[in-house]
Structure formats: C-alpha cells, structure tokens
C-alpha cells in the first residue's frame, strides 16, 4: 500500500495527458468540413451532411467514453508489485442488462433521426419561382422516388457506359420541337430548378456521383435508379463514377454545370444545333464515302 500515492498521481497525469492528446487529435474532426460529406450544392447533400454530423457527434461521445474507459483501465489497473490480487468477479447481470438496453436505445435514436431526415433527402421539392418550372413541367415520378409536390421537374436520363456518362434531356424536348438533345461528360442544368435523374447503364454497373449534389446511385443494366438535385449557385460541380467498371474506371469523370434558366434555354438551342450540324456533317461524309 505504501508506494501507491505516486503511481496514482502519475496515472492521473498520464490519463489527463492522454485525454488532452485525443481531444487535440479529434477537435478538428468535430468542426472541420473535411470530416463530413461534401455539401453546398443541393439541399439533399446538405441534409445528408447534417444527418452525418448528428450521427458522428453521437459516435464521438461513444468513442471518447469507451476509449477513455480503456485508457483509464490500461493506466490505472496495471499490476503493481505490492498490489493485492484482483477480486474474482465473474459478471454482473444488472450491468449487462443496462448496457444492452443502453446500446439498443442509442441505435434506436439514430434510426429515429434517420427517418426524420429521410423524406427531405429522398423526395424532390418544387422548383423555385426563378427556376425553369414554366417549361420543364413534365409529370414524372417512379415507385422509388415521388414527384415534387407540384409534379414539375426537369427530367434527364443518365446513361453510364465504359468510360463516359451520357445525358438525354428528355424532359426538355418541348423546348427543341421534340427533337432529342443529349450531351456527354458535362451535364448543363438550369439553376433553381428541380432536376430529376433517371439512371441506368448500357454495359456494366456504374455509379452516378457528384458529391456536392447528394448521394450516389448505381447505374445497373436492366434497372432504373433515381435521384435529384436542385442547385441555387451557378457553377461547376465535379464528380466521377463510383463503382468499379473496368480498368479505366478512374477516368470516368463527370461534371454538372449550373447556369441561369435563360442561358440554359439558349444552351439547349445551341446544343440542338450542334447535334444537327454534326449529323449533317456525318451524313455528308457518308455520302462522300459512297461516291468513291
């Protein structure tokens, strides 16, 4: 019993130093954005970010509690030369029941919070008044994803193929005399407009993901998958394919460029023109080829 005072004080100091080091190491975790998902492009990405942070805070509390107990045990309960034999405790039923219920309660709370946030993440809202709603008024919904409350969203089909993304503006065809408009790699969309994506693949499995615009959704051959975004800030949002789709998976990049609705209408027309011109050029080439 005699040499106990010093080790105890030393243990306390060690515990404090350890806790301080852990706090220092994890302080940025709690505050900085690099430790939560990307956000800021679309409301669903922001809601996922918030939900992640709530769960992470719960996780950090558990982390400190358990690692703290572990560290405390490691320091405090080291065998000492003159220490007494430990008591032969075999268990404690109330304690077992207690931490079982405690753990169950924590995950129940996380589940409840998830279901509160789920509709905001999953269900597309209406386009804003300064969006493209007067034109992109197609009623579109699926079993997986309800339509916006007023039913109107700009629908784009996203097709993954090795190693490029194709976008079919099937929801904007009334702006181009029902002629098809499509684009590759860069998706141009109007701001303040709810854009609904229907995602599939023409070869292997891919995954559509622009981190700032919300979660990813897999592009699986033979299936349609859905997601949406609504961008308020004009700009370019980058992403890339998230499901291994072959050797050049890393090169399957994508970006979304958001521009004001008026510019978007002009872009549609010019894109339609460009497609027409390239088709004509191709036809002329073929004709020239036949003549030879």
């Amino acid at each position: 019993m005699i040499p106990r005072a010093l080790p105890r004080r030393r243990a306390l100091i060690l515990a404090l130093v350890g806790a301080a080091a852990l706090l220092l190491a994890l302080a940025p975790v709690a505050s900085a954005d690099w430790f939560s998902p990307e956000s800021g492009g679309s409301p669903n990405a922001n809601d996922i970010d918030t939900l992640y942070k709530i769960v992470m805070y719960i996780g950090i509390v558990i982390f400190f509690l358990v690692e703290g107990l572990l560290l405390y045990s490691v320091i405090k309960f080291r065998r000492r030369r003159y220490g007494a034999e430990p008591a032969m405790v075999h268990g404690n039923t109330p304690l077992e029941v207690g931490w079982t219920i405690g753990a169950a309660l924590i995950v129940a709370i996380i589940a409840a919070i998830t279901f509160i946030y789920l509709p905001r993440i999953k269900n597309p809202p209406n386009s804003s008044a300064n969006g493209l709603q007067q034109f992109a008024g197609e009623e579109f919904a699926s079993v997986e994803q309800p339509k916006p409350p007023n039913g109107k969203a700009l629908r784009i089909n996203v097709v993954g193929q090795q190693y490029i993304w194709r976008y079919d503006y099937i929801g904007a065809q009334r702006l181009t005399e029902n002629r098809p408009v499509y684009a590759y790699y860069q998706m141009v969309v109007p701001t303040n407009t709810t854009v609904v994506l229907q995602i599939n693949s023409s070869d292997v499995a891919h995954s559509w993901w622009i981190p700032k615009l919300g979660g990813k959704q897999d592009a699986i051959p033979g299936h349609n998958n859905y997601t949406w975004f609504k961008i308020s800030k004009p700009g370019v949002y980058k992403g890339q394919c998230a499901e291994l789709c072959g050797n050049n998976h890393a090169d399957m990049l994508a970006e979304v460029r958001a521009i004001p609705p008026d510019q978007f209408k002009a872009w549609l027309v010019s894109q339609r023109q460009a497609i027409l011109q390239s088709q004509q050029a191709l036809a002329a080439q073929r004709k020239a080829g036949e003549g030879q």
Partner: protein, 549 residues
C-alpha cells in the same frame, strides 16, 4: 503414444500428416505466405496512389492488384489462418486427441493450398481485374474475356470446399469430443468463436458457390443468369454474393473475438467478465449477420422499405458487438494488467475495432451511405474491422500461442517494437482514408486528378503503410528467430486458464497422456489450485479418463 520410436519426421511426415497440430501449423505457414503476397500487393497500390496522376503502375495492373489483394487477404489469409489456429487449438482446448475426421482435415488444408496456387497461376496469363466482388456483368465473358476470372472461380470452389469440410470437422469435434465435464457453459470462448464461425461457413458458403457456378456457366456455356439481354439480372449476383459476403465478415471476426476473450482475462489476472453474455452475443451476431447483406447494396435500385430493413438489422448488430466490448473492458476493470505483447495487441484490437464499429453504424444509415458507399471511407472502415480488428487479434493470438506451438517464447522487446510500428502505421494509413472518402475519392481508382486536394492525405497513407509493413516484418523476424533461440516456454508460461496449457509445449502427438476432468470454464486455475493444495505435480492431479479413449 508419446515416446514411441516410430514417430515420423522429415518433410514426408508433413505432406502425409493427419495430425491436427501439424496441419494447423501448415495452415499458419501457408496463410502467412499469402499474407505477405497480399501485403506486397497493397504496398504497390499505395505507391501508385502516393501522388496524383502517378504513372508507376498501369490501370490494368492496378485493378489486378486490387482484385488479388482483396481475394488473397480474405480467402487465403484471414479465413484460413483462423482455421489454422482452430485446428491447432480446438482439440487441445477441449481435451481431445485430434479432430473428429483427421484425413478430412488434411484434405481441407490441401484444397486450400491448391485453391491458392490455381488463383496465383493467373499471374502468368491475365490476372482478374474486377475487384474481389466480381460484380456481373463486368466479370462476364463480354467484359472480362480473360481466364483470370475463371481462376478466381476455381479458387472460390476449392477454398470454399476446404472451408466447408473444415467447418463440418470443427462442428463434429466440438459437439462430440469435449473432455468429461466440459459442458456448454464451460467451453472456452475461443471454442465458441470457432463453433459459430463453422456454422456460419456452412450456412453462407453455398450461396457464393452457387453464384460462381452460375458465373462460370454464363461465361462458358451460354446461360444468362446475370445477362439482361437473356432475361437475367446483375443484381442477382450482388444478392448471392453478399448473402455470403457479409456473414464472411463475421466469419473473419468471431474467432478473433474468441481469442481476445481468452487473452484479456489471462493478462488481467481475472476471470472473463460476463462469460454467458459474450458467448450469447457471438451467437446473436452470427444470426443477425445473416440478415444484413443488402447494406452493401444501399445505392442499388432497391425499394426504400428494403433499405430501411437492412439499416435496422445492421444497427441491431451493434448491440451484441457493444456488449462484447463492454465485457472486455469490464474484465480489465480492477484487474492486475500484465502488459506482455499479446495484451498490447488485444488492447490495440479493442481500440481500433471500436472505430470500425462506429464507422460501421454511420455507414449503416442508408441516406448517409449514399455518400459513403464505394469511397475510401468504406476502405477505411473495412480495414479498421479486418486489419485493426482481425489482424491485430491474430497477432495477439500468435504471440499468445507461439510458446505452445514452438515450445519457446517470442522476444518481448521485438514484439513491443512491432506492436508500436503496426499501431502507428495502421492508424496513419487508414485514419486519413475516412477523410479522403468524405472528400469524394472513390475506391479502386488507379489514379486521381491533381486538383482535388487528395494528394497530402494519400501521401500520409502511403508512408503509414510502409511503417505498418515494417512492423509486420519485425514480428515475422521475431517468430523465425524465436523458433531457434527463444527462451524455453514450459507448459504454462502465462498462467493461463484453458486446457492447452496443461500439456507440454509443443504438445506430444497424442496431446494428453491424461485428460483432466473439467470442473469450470477455467480448468487450469482449478488444477493449479489443487497442485498448490496437494503439493503434487500436475499430471497426478488430473483424473485420467478410461483407457482406450
């Protein structure tokens, strides 16, 4: 019997042996060889990712490394090394003289070896490059015409058969061959881990065996199980694969939980806290583990109600897992902790596995997983579970049982150096990968763009991986050196609780000349008490079982 003159030696005795201890050792040698191969593959990948737009390794080779690393670590290291420890220690810990089916046992081992050889032969033509998950249609002949995929299919069949036969052997042995007096509530917790690992293997492996057979016929015989054009469905592959693949995760951790549950009490000089709670939670994890497979498929086109079910079932697993962690800490609580190397690794295991558990719950929140799925966050998560968890636990087991297997102690100082290198290297490699994933870096990409700000974290991760590798090498060096020069261990160097410490180190071919009667979950404690009380040698205290058994 011990001391008989015709005891076989030499390399032929290893090839033809049916002794569970020799088979167990061969499992451990072979799997550690594969562990080194898988490790080198990982280091090559880390080198390629050390900086953005690196051209060290071409895309084809990189994706082959991704595939070989995952396949090797899972099918050729973690699962079979646990079978190796199980083989060596199940008979010893339950007081049996061998496994129930010794020749089947040898067959299991050789099937594993040939599975590994078949798979690695693909290096000489075209190794597979679809990731260890082999998602159809990428793995179908249209997109992967090379025979590397077929080599993998044969690996799955051979190692799968090896594991199922081994599992049946464990089940038969544990159910029927326990020493007199060893009821279910006196079985060592490692035995509980191996028993439930075996049941999970028997339940889960048929699903992947079916899936790879379907893939084989799709590739070569014109069927269309996974081909949309023929009315098949790529999602069928994912369901069949993960119906096996998630229980596989528990297959790789439950015996390790068992090891930790053996080691923590021995080095805390206290009985394990909540024996029944730990055993029951193992069974609960296994049962729930069969019901969570689609949490690997949260981003597939699947109805929300299904996603919600798999989220809740995944949450449910956190409860029995939490129970285990609390019980281990409660075992240490007010103990007299002895910090030998096995305890270092066991405590490191708890600290790191906890992080993997927390990030597991976070990625089970399916709307959050839409951001995390298929990113480096998930890479970090699985490595916190499988490396920070399983591998650290396996190293704890190696240091703990090496004296029994070799008769000699491993060097403590080298062990501690190895632990600290591995602990620092591991966390440096994988902790930053959480951040990379959250910043949008997908997994399995052979390079990344320079403007994304991922360079620093990747460099940290690469440096960490080499520190980790150095730590592993120190332990391998320690093991090789200690076989010859280690301090003699004696029967029971740790003052441990279970029956394997009753017999000499290394144990004789028949394991025990006498098998003591079991009176509690800690038979060695009873024996030590009796020896102390009677002042007689241990062998005469034990009550021999009837001759001829």
């Amino acid at each position: 019997m011990r001391g008989l003159p015709d005891r076989k030696t030499g390399w032929l005795s290893w090839l033809s042996t049916t002794d569970h201890k020799k088979i167990g050792l061969m499992y451990i040698y072979a799997t550690f060889l594969f562990f080194m191969l898988g490790g080198v593959e990982a280091l090559l990948m880390r080198l390629q990712l050390a900086q953005s737009q690196n051209t060290l390794i071409n895309p084809q080779t990189y994706e082959a490394l991704v595939t070989m690393h995952g396949t090797t670590m899972i099918f050729l290291f973690v699962v079979p090394v646990l079978a190796g420890f199980g083989n060596y220690f199940v008979p010893l810990m339950i007081g049996a003289r061998d496994m129930a089916f010794p020749r089947l046992n040898a067959l299991s081992f050789w099937l594993l070896v040939f599975g590994g050889i078949v798979f690695y032969m693909s290096v000489f033509f075209t190794p597979p490059n679809t990731g260890w998950t082999f998602y159809a249609p990428l793995s179908d002949s249209a997109f992967s015409p090379s025979n590397g995929v077929d080599a993998w299919i044969f690996l799955i069949h051979l190692t799968g058969l090896s594991s199922v036969l081994g599992a049946i052997n464990f089940v038969a042995t544990i159910h029927n061959m326990r020493a007199r007096g060893m009821g279910w509530a006196r079985m060592p917790l490692f035995i509980w881990g191996i028993l439930i690992y075996s049941y999970l293997l028997i339940l889960a492996l048929p699903s992947v065996a079916a899936a790879v057979t379907m893939l084989l016929t799709d590739r070569h015989f014109g069927t269309g199980f996974f081909d949309v054009a023929q009315g098949g469905d790529p999602l069928l592959w994912q369901h069949l694969f993960w119906f096996f693949g998630h229980p596989e995760v528990y297959i790789m951790i439950l015996p390790v939980f068992g090891m930790i549950s053996e080691i923590i009490p021995v080095f805390s000089r206290k009985p394990v806290f909540g024996y029944k709670a730990i055993a029951a939670s193992t069974a609960a994890i296994a049962f729930l583990g069969m019901l969570v497979w689609a949490h690997h498929m949260f981003t597939t086109p699947t109805p929300i109600v299904v996603l919600a079910f798999f989220m809740l079932s995944s949450f449910a697993i956190a409860v029995p897992t939490g129970i285990k962690i609390f019980n281990w800490i409660a075992t240490m609580w007010r103990g007299a902790l002895v910090f030998k190397v096995p305890m270092y690794f066991a405590v490191g295991f708890i600290a790191q596995f906890l992080i993997g558990g927390i990030s597991g719950v976070m990625s089970a929140v399916f709307p959050v997983d839409w951001q995390l799925q298929d990113t480096y966050y998930i890479v970090a998560h699985i490595h916190y579970v499988l490396f920070g968890g399983s591998v650290f636990g396996i190293f704890a087991g190696l240091y703990y049982w090496f004296p029994k297997m070799s008769g000699r102690m491993m060097n403590e100082t080298l062990g501690k150096v190895s632990f600290w290198l591995m602990f620092v290297g591991f966390n440096m490699t994988f902790f930053v990968q959480h951040a990379l994933g959250l910043e949008g870096m997908p997994r399995r990409i052979y390079t990344y763009q320079s403007g994304y700000g991922w360079d620093t974290e990747n460099l940290i991760s690469t440096i960490g991986s080499f520190i980790l590798a150095a730590g592993i090498l120190v332990t391998l060096f320690n093991a090789v050196r200690s076989v010859k020069t280690g301090k003699k261990a004696g029967n029971d160097p740790w003052n441990a609780n279970t029956l394997e410490w009753f017999t000499p180190s290394p144990p004789p071919e028949n394991n025990f000349d006498v098998i003591p009667r079991i009176r509690s979950a800690e038979p060695m404690k009873d024996i030590r008490r009796e020896v102390a009380a009677a002042g007689r040698p241990a062998g005469s205290v034990a009550q021999p079982v009837a001759p001829g058994t």
